[in-house]
Amino acid sequence: MENKKFENKILEQTKLKIAISEFEKKEYKTKEKNIETKQFYTYKKILVASLIICIVVIGTVQAKKMLNYFEKNSVFFPISISDAINNGYIQDFNMDYIYSDGIGLKIDSLILSETDMNIVFDFKLNDNIDLVNDKFNFSYIIYNEDNQVYAYRDLAMKNKFTKKFAKEHNIKFNNVLPNLAKEGNSNIITFTPNNIIINERYVATNNFPKTKKLYIQVIGIGCIVDGKNKSLSNSNWTFELNIPDKFYSSTNIEYKLKENIDNIEVEKILVTDTGTILIANILNKDLEIKIVDENKNEYSNYGGISYIGNRVSMYFPINKNNITDKLYLQVSINNEKNMYELIKKY
C-alpha cells in the first residue's frame, strides 16, 4: 500500500512537471541568441553620458571568499569556475565606490579563465534614490584593448548602447554585437534598499583571449515602476581592470589527432589550467565524444553542446594538472566505441 501511495505521489508530481515543461515549450520563448540569462526588465532611455574612468589596482587574491559565495547561494557551480578559483584566476578589487547621481558602483571581483568569466557588480544607493521595487536594471559591455567584446547586456537600452559602442569602436553591428560568450547567467547576491550586488557569469563559445586589460562600461541604471521605465542614473561608468599575471602568462598545451577521423574535423584541442576545449566540425550529430586518459578515466563533455552549423565547441573537465602522458579521443556511435590517440602539437 505504501508503495502504491509513493507511486501515485510521483505520478501526480511528474504530471505537473511535464505540464510545466510543455507550457514552457509552447508559451515561454527564449532568445534566439542561445544566451541563457536571468534577465531584467527592459526600458528605453536615451543615454546622456558623463564618463567616469577608474584605474584599478590589483587587490589580493581571496579565492575562498568567492567559493563561499557560490556554496552559500547554491548557484549552479560549474567545475570550470571552481578550477579557475583554485588556480588563482580570481581577483578581488578593494576599490571604493565611484559615485554619480546618488549611485555608487564598484566591481567586487573578477574570475577569468580561458573558458569562464564571472564578475560581481556592487551598487550602493543613497537614501534619496527611490528604488520602489526589485525590478532593478542596468546595461554593460565587457571588452579588451583590441575591442574584442567578451560579453554584454543591453536589454535596458534596446541595443542603443551597443550600437553606439560598435560605431565608436569600429565594430560591425548587425542587430547583435559580436561577442565571445556562448551563454550567460545572472544572480542577485544582495538586494536591500541601499545595496544591490549582482553576479554575472559567462561561458566562452571558444575561449576568452588573454588580455592585460579588461574594460567594463556600465550604463542605463534604472528600474520599472507601474510598467514604465524609470531611470535612476544617466551616467556611464568605465572600469579598467588589470588582468592577473597568472592568467596572462599561463601556457596551454595544444593537441591534435594522430590520425584523421571520418566525419570529424578537429580545429583545436586545447588543454588549459581549468579544462580542455575541443572545437570541431562534426557531420554526424549522433556521435558521443569523450576524452580518455591512460588510466582509462573518461571525461564527458560538460555544459551541453551547441552547434553552429556543423561546428561545435565542447568543454571537458580534464586540465593541465591532471592529464596523463597519453590522451585519447573516444568516439561512440551505435554502441561502437573507437579510441583515437591525441598527440601534442608542438
Partner: protein, 176 residues
C-alpha cells in the same frame, strides 16, 4: 527486458512501472540524498524520458536509458549540492542526444512556476494540467469540468498571466 513500441509510449504506465526501480538505483548509488532529493530525481528521470521520447531507440529496452539517465541526474545533483563523490562511470552510449543538463538548469525557473501553480485554486491547476499535460482542447476541458468553453479560455489566460508575472518577478524574461 521488456521493449516498448514507440506508439505505446505511455508515460503514466512507465511511471507506475519504474518508480520503485529507479528508487532502488538511487538508494544503491548514493547515501547523501534526502527523500525529497530522491523524489525529485525520480520525477526528473521521467521528465527527461518524456522530453526525449522521440530520441529513444525502441529496439532496446527502457531499462538502460533509465539507469543511465538516473545516474547522470544524480551526478548533476551532486554537483549542485557540492557533494564530492564518485558515481560509477556509467557507459551512457545509449544516451546520445538525450538532454539531461537542461533539467537542472531549468530547475529554478520551474520551481517558480510550480510554486505559483500550487498557490492557485485546484480547479485552475487542473485546467493547466489538462491543457498542457493531457493536451486537451478547451472544448474537451469544458466538457470534463462541466463549465463553459469561454470560462476555460478565460481561466487559461489568467493562469498564463499569473505565471508570466511570477517569472518576470523572479528575473526571467517572457516571450522575448
Amino acid at each position: 527486458m521488456e521493449k516498448i513500441n514507440k506508439n505505446e509510449f505511455n508515460i503514466e504506465e512507465i511511471i507506475i512501472k519504474y518508480t520503485n526501480y529507479i528508487y532502488k538505483i538511487i538508494k544503491n548509488s548514493t547515501i547523501y540524498l534526502t527523500n525529497e532529493d530522491i523524489e525529485e530525481i525520480i520525477e526528473d528521470v521521467f521528465l527527461v524520458l518524456w522530453n526525449n521520447k522521440e530520441k529513444i531507440n525502441y529496439e532496446l529496452s527502457l531499462e538502460p536509458y533509465i539507469v543511465g539517465i538516473t545516474k547522470n541526474i544524480i551526478k548533476l545533483k551532486y554537483r549542485k549540492l557540492k557533494i564530492n563523490d564518485n558515481i560509477d562511470n556509467y557507459e551512457n552510449i545509449i544516451q546520445n542526444n538525450i538532454d539531461i543538463q537542461n533539467i537542472i538548469e531549468q530547475e529554478e525557473k520551474n520551481k517558480i512556476i510550480e510554486k505559483t501553480l500550487n498557490q492557485m485554486k485546484e480547479k485552475d491547476k487542473k485546467i493547466f494540467i489538462l491543457f498542457y499535460y493531457n493536451s486537451k482542447s478547451t472544448k474537451e476541458i469544458a466538457k470534463d469540468l462541466k463549465i463553459t468553453e469561454i470560462n476555460v479560455k478565460t481561466k487559461l489566460h489568467r493562469i498564463r498571466k499569473k505565471l508570466k508575472n511570477a517569472l518576470v518577478k523572479g528575473g526571467y524574461s517572457y516571450g522575448e
